[in-house]
């Protein structure tokens, strides 16, 4: 593995008013690693994911991606908040896939995919469209290129969302419960795409309830509860031989 972690969290704290959502998270994600995060709702796993691309601002601790602090710059021993365009720049290097897809409904599938490469990265149209086609082919939706998102099933929409994130050629992909809003029969097609991504060596953090996926594809598994990491380890170990009582009781309910 490479020498430096892709994501490094040191006692990360996040509060919503007086509610403490994250109470000191310490984690390291290495390049090409697939980390799955599980835990009951309200445990802070989605919030942690959103902190990584600065959709949420952290209130304490340190969080860095690829060796650079998220949302801040350190000069001497002082922290300076990043400007909006600097934050945007960093976000463009991290792909994110949402539970509710959040495709742009007024754009066709292909337009969804090429919008950010053309407008944000200022790529010229033809190569961007060419790569958009390839990505859609890769997620098995080449023939849906000119459809609008609402004409697609949930599973197809989520695959487009993955292609849209990949079009920015991210160094890290964040998945926020990507299959939770899908009918059971459609979960598989999305997980297959994600599995392919993992095999290609993408660094991924996946908040999920899919234990099978976590076991087979994940390199590491994190169980979060109450805003802290309760347990972390090899997926097989955590799932079959949990060390903590909280983990055991959670797994007994979901497995």
């Amino acid at each position: 593995m490479a020498a430096a972690p892709m994501v490094k969290a040191e006692s990360v704290v996040k509060n919503y008013g007086r509610l403490e959502v994250l109470r000191g998270i310490d984690l390291e994600v290495w390049p090409k690693e697939v980390m799955c995060i599980i835990g009951p709702s309200g445990s802070g796993k989605s919030t942690f994911l959103r902190c990584i691309n600065h959709l949420e601002k952290i209130d304490g601790g340190r969080l860095s991606v690829d060796g650079e602090l998220v949302g801040y710059q350190q000069r001497g021993d002082k922290l300076y908040e990043l400007r909006d365009n600097e934050v945007s720049k960093k976000r463009s290097e991290i792909g994110m896939v949402f539970q509710s897809f959040n495709l742009f409904p007024h754009l066709t599938v292909l337009q969804n995919v090429v919008e950010a490469p053309i407008r944000v990265k200022r790529e010229s149209r033809d190569p961007a469209v060419e790569r958009g086609r390839e990505l859609l082919e890769r997620v098995g939706l080449a023939e849906k290129m000119d459809a609008y998102p609402r004409q697609l099933s949930g599973g197809q929409q989520q695959r487009v969302a993955i292609a849209r994130a990949l079009a920015m050629q991210p160094k890290l992909m964040l998945f926020d419960e990507p299959t939770s809003a899908l009918d059971p029969e459609l979960v598989g097609e999305v997980l297959d795409v994600m599995r392919g991504l993992a095999e290609d060596g993408m660094t991924m953090i996946v908040v999920t309830h899919e234990m099978g996926f976590a076991r087979e594809v994940g390199d590491s598994l994190v169980f979060m509860d109450g805003g802290v990491v309760v347990e972390e380890g090899k997926p097989r170990d955590v799932l079959t031989n949990p060390q903590h009582e909280r983990t055991r009781s959670f797994l007994s309910k979901v497995l």
Binding site: N53, L55, K90, P105, H106, A147, R150, S153, M168, L186
Partner: protein, 325 residues
Amino acid sequence: MADVASPPAAIKAVPVRHPGRWVAALVVLVVGAYVVGTVVSSVAHDVTKEGHGWDTVAHYFLNPLIVRGVWLTLVYTVLAMVLGIVLGVVLAVMRLSPNWVVGWVSWLYIWFFRGTPVLVQIFFWFNLNILISHIGIGIPFTSLWLQADTNSLITPFVAVLLGLGLNEGAYMAEIVRAGIISVEHGQTEAALALGMDRLLLMRRIILPQAMRVIIPPTGNETISMLKTSSLAYIATGNELFTRTEQIATATYAVIEMLIVASIWYLMLTSVLTVGQYYIERYFARGSHRQLPMTPFQRFKRMLVTFHAPPPLPVEPPVGLASDHR
């Protein structure tokens, strides 16, 4: 179990009769016909005119003065709406700004211009020269100044435009704001996660979607503006209504000229209504699985099939699942 060879027969039943509906329709038609008939015949027998009242209407309907008035009405409507929409977008974005001073200024603008009558505002701009005799622009504390007489700068035309447009801006601001906040927050998050900045997010993602909410009331505003432009009368704006009134004063054909104006206004608003339908349709793309047919398409279809059109052959896209998210 019975054989499934023959499909169940269609139901044949005597429909419920609704005599009340027939009576109501008849009453409404009789009353309506009476009112229209009275007006039409009264104008026809107007004894103050030589010949027919309706002849007067026809005579002045395409009078060059009237036609130029119609043109000016359209110019006022279009320019005032353009000014209003641009102002509205700016004010709406200002109101949603994280900078509270900016938001507050926008609120104050809307409060003032929505809170005073358009007629008063037009008249105010028209009389601006009483308050300020010269309008200048330049760099403070230097001699670099461009200055002009207020009356030469704020012509009646400009006064009407300012009155209508600035007032419209306040209304459009609220319409645009409603559109912006109607767009799901997930859209903002997805766009930000892709690295878009606020401007790009607004221009490419939020506003195009907000359009669906913004267009119908904006169509209303445009139709309303077409009629409100008649208030230009107070500033001798020389649009349709001013022109008909001028002719009415000169010829005493008061009612006839009001009819001329009304027919023109009705024709113009009808055209706008059709235009609005097609603009709405354009911005609805992506919001339905299949766009409904236009009346024209439905008409064509009817001609081809010669009877009530059968249900549309909605072909679900391949692999379409049951969830509608």
